[in-house]
């Protein structure tokens, strides 16, 4: 089965869970006075759920013939290991780590570490230059966000 049909199958599962929630669980919390209304909070989700099940089924069953539309992406998912998959996965994990560490470690440590490590992973070996540029850039960005835009970004770990 091709990737687009697998994705449609996942969306079909989501649509089924969504519809179940809309049809069977949402209305239980509805106050009695709202039950007289012609429209309930579940009405629109019910329509969406049914339509999504129908349309995703069309793709899963292959009823619409799909063309090999390149869309300018030029990446063949069947040969994913021929690309820099390891680097991409590592960077995704690194982004998640950055998200978790931003508050406890503060903006500077987490950002400089994120930028330096991701540059290294991508093949940059001039570590000192990389560190120097990321440190300056981090400070400029922190200054712009904090002082110009007025949005608080904790610069250092919470213990300081």
């Amino acid at each position: 089965m091709s990737l687009d049909r697998w994705i449609a199958l996942v969306i079909l599962s989501i649509a089924l869970i969504y519809s179940y929630a809309a049809f069977f669980t949402m209305d239980q919390l509805l106050p009695p006075f709202m039950q007289r209304n012609p429209i309930w909070p579940s009405t629109f989700p019910k329509i969406l759920g049914v339509l999504s099940i129908l349309v995703s089924s069309v793709i899963v069953l292959g009823l619409e013939k799909t063309k090999d539309n390149k869309d300018g992406i030029e990446i063949d998912p069947r040969r994913l290991f021929d690309y820099n998959l390891g680097q991409a996965l590592f960077l995704v994990v690194l982004m998640a780590v950055y998200a978790i560490s931003l508050r406890p470690l503060g903006f500077f440590i987490s950002t400089i570490t994120f930028l330096t490590v991701s540059g290294y992973v991508l093949g940059e070996r001039k570590i000192f230059i990389l560190f120097f540029i990321t440190a300056i850039a981090s400070f400029i960005i922190w200054y712009l966000v904090e002082q110009v835009l007025g949005i608080y970004l904790r610069p250092l770990p919470s213990i300081f």
């Binding site: 999504s52 619409e64 992406i73 820099n84």
Partner: protein, 494 residues
């Protein structure tokens, strides 16, 4: 109209807004030149900055400037590197890149800039004529008509989806609508589909969603396939001049494609890509036989046609946004989201209630086009230096700005995890060629669609509003026709 125009002139020519449009055009050109980063990604990254400005007119002027700059920058990378940042500039590379390879990069850039300027300016004049007219008609609309009109807009996305992409486009729209139902709605004061998570109480953030489905996948693609960011030796820019004969030759092309591109841009779901390809095809078909052979090998008409059409279409796409509050493309959907975040409701009342925004945006389009022509074009040889930044520096910063954009918007670390999760899902979907713009359009229109549907249901005590309001019925028939249209086309070809 004259009074509004004067207010618009005053607002657009204020120092702050002039700086916004100049800054927007420069930033857009600078980043738009990077292969792989399209206008939607750039605008998504710029939204937190625009929202922080607090002034809706300045914010929209900045974002519109970024939009034009990005299209201009995208054309530059198409011409110099044969690496179009967006689908809308793919047709530009057909003749632009062969010209650059033949040592005429400067000439190709000038033709692209003049065509873009003309397409954008003529488009802005047409916008000035048609937008107020459409606004006055739209003032007669009630929530039932709005609901039907939004259905038409969403259906048109399917109608203009590529062959074999119709079901995917509809599914993505529905997924966007489903995501919009998460959290507390405006009419119903109860949380829906939050799975008990406090972070989902107010629903998904549109900035996070825009970053996740546009900017993050682009960056991941650049990591996966470094060839997308590969540099070329063809980018030497020397002589920027074009001859009188060449200017004369492209003038009728620019005239035709400005009008055609604008009207294609007005149609929801059509946009710059269809306009540029159609413009290219039309000009090739009507060209004399000896000129037809030049198309694809460095024809100046082949370069001028898509460049004019895509810029005119960009301007045209503002018509449904400003007059009906309905975005016709992913980019205008992002702009609509930014306006909603700034407590501005685009629609027919925008022209009367907030004339300074409505007219300032139109006036700033003229200014933006002039800036792109007289400021950015001579600077191109210097701006093109950005192409020499190594990817080992470039990609980490793109990822960082994506993360920061989402964090600044919400000031919440959980939002970053949602961004990464949604970004990975969007990347996998892009592998399978699922279109992402319909998802964002569905998400942004979702709440408005449900609100108008609910109001109509309450006013008419059920779905009687479809029968009792003829305009609603006509629009819903049109929507049904648009959904069926692609299948009719397939049946006809068989």
């Amino acid at each position: 109209m004259l009074e509004g125009l004067l207010i618009g002139l005053e607002t657009a020519f204020s120092l702050k807004n002039l700086l916004m449009v100049i800054g927007g055009c420069l930033i857009g050109t600078f980043i738009g030149m990077l292969p792989g980063l399209g206008p939607m990604s750039i605008i998504a990254i710029m939204i937190p900055v625009a929202i922080t400005l607090g002034d809706p007119a300045a914010a929209l002027i900045l974002l519109a400037g970024v939009y034009y700059g990005a299209i201009f920058g995208g054309s530059t990378s198409s011409i110099l590197l044969n690496a179009p940042g967006v689908a809308g500039t793919v047709a530009t590379s057909f003749d632009g890149y062969p010209m650059a390879r033949a040592g005429m990069a400067g000439k190709a850039l000038t033709i692209a800039a003049i065509s873009s300027f003309a397409g954008g300016t003529i488009g802005a004049i047409l916008l000035m004529i048609f937008a107020p007219a459409l606004s006055s008609v739209a003032l007669l609309f009630h929530s039932a008509e709005y609901f039907a009109l939004m259905i038409v807009g969403l259906s048109a996305i399917a109608a203009f989806a590529g062959s074999g992409q119709v079901a995917k486009a509809i599914l993505m729209t529905l997924l966007g609508l489903m995501m919009a139902t998460v959290g507390e709605g405006a009419l119903f004061n109860m949380p829906r589909f939050t799975m008990g998570l406090m972070d989902l109480q107010s629903g998904f953030s549109f900035i996070t969603l825009a970053m996740a489905i546009f900017a993050l996948p682009e960056a991941i693609f650049l990591v996966l396939n470094p060839a997308r960011a590969a540099h070329s030796e063809s980018g030497k820019i020397e002589n920027l001049r074009i001859t009188k004969q060449e200017a004369k030759s492209i003038a009728p092309v620019i005239g035709r494609q400005s009008a055609q591109g604008f009207f294609i841009g007005v149609l929801p779901g059509a946009g710059a890509t269809i306009a540029s390809f159609l413009g290219y095809a039309v000009e090739r078909n009507i060209a004399p036989e000896h000129e037809q052979k030049e198309f694809g090998k460095g024809s100046i008409k082949g370069l001028a046609a898509p460049e004019t059409a895509n810029n005119a279409a960009c301007t045209g796409s503002f018509v449904p946004l400003l007059t009906l509050g309905i975005p016709g493309s992913g980019t205008t959907a992002i702009l609509l989201g930014a306006l909603i975040a700034l407590n501005v409701s685009p629609g027919p009342r925008l022209m009367t209630d907030e004339p300074q925004i409505f007219w300032a945006v139109i006036i700033s389009m003229y200014i933006g086009n002039v800036i792109l022509l007289i400021l950015n074009l001579p600077l191109i040889p210097y701006i093109a230096k950005i192409l020499t930044i190594p990817r080992t520096f470039l990609i980490p910063f793109i990822l960082f700005f994506t993360l920061m954009g989402s964090y600044i918007g919400q000031n919440n670390s959980t939002e970053l995890l949602i961004l990464v999760g949604l970004g990975v899902c969007a990347t996998i979907m892009r592998f399978a060629h699922y279109p992402m713009a319909p998802l964002l359009i569905g998400f942004i229109l979702g709440r408005m669609l449900e609100d108008n549907f609910s109001r109509s249901m309450q006013l008419y005590d059920g779905i009687n509003f479809i029968i009792e309001r003829p305009m609603t019925m006509v629009l819903l028939f049109l929507a049904a026709f648009l959904v069926v249209l692609p299948f009719l086309r397939i049946a006809k070809f068989k």
